[in-house]
């Protein structure tokens, strides 16, 4: 049995980024497995998400809260509509287990967020833990380690 090719994985990551660019949060969220996690650590190489703070560590329930908030007119900090743009590069499959239908892919991300005359740029090392469910790639974990994750930050409003 053959696992997904590098081309499959690259296409998946680009499609994922395009969903975020398009603010299609619900379609993006459906890429996750039911217990999938979106993680933005606060420390380079951070291993522990439970006993060390993170910028974001979200399960399905918290993603649902955030995604609903994107459309909430009482989300004052989101007024003026932050919009974002992401570029994925240097994709590599670091490990894969075709029998289990799992693989880990790493990539580099350059992204920008714009709101009210201000552009914030992000550079990140991204790791995806992917699983094949019903013939589709699904995200079990997306870990976005910002280059400056341990620096002081202003608002980060979007998923990266």
């Amino acid at each position: 049995m053959r696992g997904p090719s590098i081309a499959d994985v690259e296409a998946f990551l680009v499609d994922e980024a395009r969903l975020l660019d398009a603010r299609d949060w619900n379609a993006w969220n459906q890429l996750f497995t039911p217990d999938g996690i979106y993680w933005v650590p606060a420390q380079p190489g951070q291993k522990d998400p439970l006993r060390h703070v993170s910028l974001i560590y979200e399960d399905a329930l918290l993603r649902e809260v955030r995604i609903r908030r994107f459309d909430d007119r009482n989300a004052f900090s989101l007024q003026g509509g932050p919009r974002g743009w992401r570029m994925v590069a240097n994709v590599r499959i670091d490990s894969s287990d075709p029998l289990a239908g799992t693989l880990t892919a790493s990539s580099r991300l350059i992204a920008a967020e714009y709101q009210r005359e201000r552009v914030t740029r992000f550079e990140a090392f991204v790791t995806h833990r992917l699983v094949i469910q019903e013939g589709q790639l699904r995200i079990a974990l997306k870990r976005v380690e910002l280059l400056d994750c341990d620096a002081a930050h202003g608002d980060i409003s979007l998923y990266l």
Binding site: R51, H52, V53, L61, L62, N74, S77
Partner: protein, 430 residues
Amino acid sequence: MSSVEGLVEADRVHRSVYTDPVIFEREMLQIFGATWIYVGHESQIPADGDYVTTSVAGQPLVMVRDKGEVRLLYNRCAHRGAQVVPDGQGNAPLFRCAYHGWIFHRDGTVRTIPLEEGYRNSCFGRDNPDSNMKAVANVAAYRGFVFACLAPSAPPFDAWLRGVDSSIDNMADRSPEGELEITGGVLRYMHRCNWKLFVENLNDLMHPMVTHMSSSGTARTVAKRHFGKDEKLPAAIEILGPFTSNYEFFEEMGVQAFPHGHSYSGGTSSIHSRYSEIDEYNEAMDAAYGAERARAIFAVNRHNTIIYPSLTLKGPIQTIRVIKPIAVDRTLVESWTFRLKGAPDALLERSILYCNLINSSANLVGPDDHEAYQRLQSGLLAQGSDWVSMHRHLGEEEPNEDGGWSANGTSDLVFRNQYRAWTDYMERAL
């Protein structure tokens, strides 16, 4: 002559206190440079030689453990003025300046001066204190929380802390061993606003139900979709939900104000009082203190305590936020979490979750507060009115048992009290 004369009245302040860079500079000198400012926790430097860099009023300091003692030095080489210890933490037997190689002991005294004989007849030499890294004039600690006062004469520490020392006590007493340990990293959130707007907001109990509707209100909606009425809710929902409690809830929490600008809100109830019980923890507390004393510790449940002007803490969830003013419209807020020594990890995990959800710059609650501060910072540039009113429930405060004043939760008492202290600090002769 005082530059702040006429800017503060009993029930209102002039908008320039938030926007004038000259006033900001004076605050750094008269307040942050002249009273007790939180610099770190002793648990950050448990072993001899452990150090951590910190700052007060923009000045670089290094806190170091030397022969068991906590010392605080200006992080500046006596020679040309370079910062000696790079920002961060570590362990070092000695500090060596990267520029001309001067070496200092951990108490700041100079050990090595390269080509020392060339400095003869100058102020430099190993027997001359001018060659040492300078110690900060006043350092005091309460249950591990270390404060510094840069000015030569500091307010008497114990009297200064009175009224809010009990909030530190309650946080530490929640450990079965009575001790706290900073752990779990730090979130540093840069705010585009004056530091006072952040500090004032913490005990502003009329804002959460408005500002946090999109996060807390949405969390409640989502929880209703997934959980039945009597079902145990996930910790994240327990944390987010209470921010949109109604006005009555916050009114009843009450506020307490004390000399020197200190205050806390809540007392017997707060947004933290309804978190799920953790049996293993309760048993550890009962074993350590006896059931009655353990109940008494848990009966104290405060929302935000402000140890004015720099340290704010949340005892029931074991987090602190440290205020570092950068410029008149720029403030760094650091969030730290604590382990209750002797308590199960579940407590720390809840504190971490709380910090992630509330204090992270990428999360759901803090950014809406930040939005409010930014709107204040820009709104206050408008000349439609020069004054910010703090009149709500004026004159209805009553003395409390701890030497302060007590009022209903939505009173502006805390703001008026902060500006009483602010004016005292700003007008006194140093």
